[in-house]
């Protein structure tokens, strides 16, 4: 078990093109989520949404190491993973608005976006609910000899669910090509993870003899480097691994969670946003190495805003499903 917190440039293997690509992906996620928040606040979006703002480096760093046909599974806080794995914002917005043009034809909504075409086996509204699915996809990949890898994204709250331990044991026993990515954003809803989690997180996978690493989840280069190692290892038959990414959600647990002082301080939020912002840090690095200048970074945001706006408009203009269609897709 090794712990890495910083990746050298060589290790990370990020060149200018790749760097800008990753930066724009992160910008896209942030702009997407801002727009979701706005749609919700303006009471245009039904239900709830759990925003990924602040955690962008995790999804982007990991997914940048995946092939298009590699699998991911996601959580209630899934928009970032979907986008990073290749989903398009227009069909995502359509799904969030319950429109027929959505990835799930409006049946799923924010917490259930699935997109088999990009290897996304679905977000999941049950905490740890996709641990079995991801492990099974890895089982299938190994069994079929397809060379695919599965990544299971989950929050540290999922460490409370027994099924996670059951499948980690299976994955290690059978050396399945699955990487468990634990996004430790410090909170299970409104409770600090230290109040719910005895011992050290990495000791949990280690209990099954599983290779486990920890990275600074606000440093996309570190995430990218670690994910690269673990995905390559899994793909080449080295078995499963566990990657703890230390991160932070800037906003509420969900869009309606506005008054947060009863569980975390404004200072803490401020500290993470100002000193550890994944976009700011990565942007700085890109500029320092001459891979980009501030105008390039701003251009990424401009492009993202344009794309997201067009996508949102598409979704807003799209029709709802026909109510007479409600009984379709119960059975295949």
């Amino acid at each position: 078990m090794t712990i890495h917190t910083q990746a050298t440039r060589a290790e990370s293997g990020i060149d200018a093109a790749r760097g800008l690509q990753m930066y724009s992906q992160m910008a896209r996620i942030r702009v997407f989520e801002e727009r979701v928040n706005e749609l919700y606040t303006r009471a245009i979006m039904p239900g709830l949404a759990h925003l990924y703002i602040g955690q962008e480096a995790v999804a982007v760093g990991v997914c940048a190491q995946l092939e298009p046909d590699d699998y991911i599974t996601s959580t209630h806080r899934g928009h970032g993973h979907c986008l990073a794995k290749g989903a398009q914002p227009d069909r995502m917005f359509a799904e969030l608005l319950g429109k027929e043009a959505g990835y799930c034809r409006g049946r799923g909504g924010s917490m259930h976006i699935a997109d088999p075409a990009t290897g996304n086996l679905g977000a999941n509204a049950i905490v740890a609910g996709s641990a079995g699915v991801a492990t099974g996809a890895a089982f299938s990949a190994k069994w079929r000899g397809s060379g695919q890898v599965a990544v299971c994204f989950f929050g540290e709250g999922a460490l409370g669910q027994g099924v996670l331990y059951e499948v980690m044991n299976l994955a290690q026993l059978w050396l399945l090509p699955v990487v468990y990515v634990c996004e430790n954003n410090l909170y299970n809803e409104y409770t600090h993870y230290r109040e719910t989690t005895a011992g050290e997180v990495l000791a949990r996978p280690a209990a099954f003899g599983m290779h486990a690493e920890q990275v600074d989840g606000q440093d996309v280069r570190a995430v990218f480097a670690a994910a690269g190692r673990l995905v390559t290892r899994a793909r080449s038959g080295g078995g499963p691994a566990f990657l703890q990414c230390d991160t932070y959600r800037y906003r509420g647990h969900h869009v309606g969670d506005i008054n947060r002082v009863f569980y975390r301080s404004k200072e803490e939020e401020q500290e993470w946003m100002t000193t550890r912002d994944p976009l700011a840090r990565f942007g700085d690095w890109l500029c320092r190495l001459g891979f980009a200048d501030p105008a390039d970074l701003e251009a990424c945001f401009v492009t993202a805003r344009h794309e997201i706006e067009t996508a949102a408009q598409f979704a807003l203009d799209s029709p709802f499903p026909d109510a007479s269609d409600v009984q379709r897709h119960v059975y295949a």
Binding site: C104, R107, I126, A128, E189, T191, T197, Y263
Partner: protein, 331 residues
């Protein structure tokens, strides 16, 4: 309802008051669940309790439904009266072993030597745009299990009185709260009262047709009864209040009087609560029925997210009204 000083409380407030009173009354009562303390649950139903009772009585847990429910079973067997909070009824899937193989059976399997006085509070109900994994009404499952009692209150008054009885019961009780009713207001006496488990309540008397409804569907049935009255049909609305034990006699007697019945419940229709109640009535009131007993459950589809789809999956006052009119031959 007894004649006494009353105020208007919301459904959530009535539940909170029942909990507070029982926490005050009996030191063995504790509340366990995710974000129950400072957060007071995501629905804010428990807001303020931790301030009065502290974190040794209102206990935040990890996201371990099976674990803390199992812990509650053991605590109940050894002198405590735990109340477990399962945030969404959909997560009953995770605690079935603890509730069904452990809690429900221990008294019987031990030949009466052990008891499990615990309450599992959870939610039900769709149309909240929460999609398929946060909208289910799974009370049929636990109603099927001997050893469990199952409560489905439909008003603030019933919620308070039934919850207090559930907490004092010597058996494991599953208590379902429809999320859509938390803000519903209704009269609740200032004085202490309890409502026994297993006694149905005639929410509205009538002569032409009986509408048996559970939980929030009682509200929907009451609205349908108003509409029916306008077309000259007198509907009796009967609320079983507990599906287990089921007050068979009150249901059957009502239908013997009206000779027609519709059973409305928000669980899926197939193999759901409407099936049991309809079967009980069709048998018990067989020689008095002028029409087949009809059922209105939730549509047999996973609950869709999209609002126009979700809205057609649950019974409404209009679907009840239309069906009742047809049954009464006045459509």
């Amino acid at each position: 309802m007894p004649e006494t000083a009353v105020r208007e409380l919301t459904f959530a407030e009535a539940i909170r008051e029942a909990l507070a009173e029982e926490l005050r009354r009996d030191p063995r009562v504790v509340v366990l669940g995710e974000d129950v303390a400072e957060a007071g649950t995501p629905f804010k139903v428990l807001s303020g309790l931790v301030e009065e009772f502290g974190t040794t009585r209102i206990i935040d847990t990890p996201i371990s439904e099976a674990g803390f429910t199992g812990l509650a079973v053991g605590a109940a067997m050894t002198g405590m009266r735990p109340i477990v909070d399962i945030m969404f009824g959909d997560f009953l899937t995770l605690v079935m072993d603890q509730m069904v193989n452990q809690a429900a059976k221990i008294h019987y399997m031990s030949g009466g030597a052990l008891q499990v006085p615990m309450v599992l509070r959870t939610t039900m109900g769709a149309t909240r745009r929460s999609a398929a994994q946060h909208s289910q009404s799974l009370h049929a499952w636990v109603s099927h299990v001997p050893g469990l009692k199952v409560v489905l209150p439909s008003t603030p008054y019933d919620a308070k009185g039934l919850l207090k009885s559930a907490i004092r019961d010597q058996n494991p009780v599953v208590f379902f709260e429809d999320k859509m009713m938390y803000r519903l207001k209704g009269p609740v006496p200032l004085e202490e009262y309890t409502i026994p488990l297993g006694v149905a309540d005639i929410k509205r008397p009538g002569t032409d047709i009986t509408i048996v409804a559970t939980s929030s569907m009682v509200q929907t049935a009451m609205a349908a009864a108003e509409l029916l009255e306008q077309v000259g049909i007198s509907a009796e609305v009967v609320d079983p209040r507990t599906t287990s034990p089921l007050d068979r006699d009150t249901l059957v007697d009502s239908v013997k009087k009206t000779s027609r019945a519709i059973v409305v419940d928000e669980g899926h229709e197939r193999y759901g609560v409407t099936a049991e109640i309809a079967a009980v009535i069709a048998d018990g009131a067989f020689y008095h029925l002028d029409a087949p007993v009809k059922r209105l459950g939730a549509m047999d589809v996973p609950v869709p997210f999209s609002p126009p789809l979700e809205d057609v999956t649950v019974p409404t006052e209009n679907t009840i009204f239309d069906l009742a009119r047809t049954l009464c031959g006045k459509a």
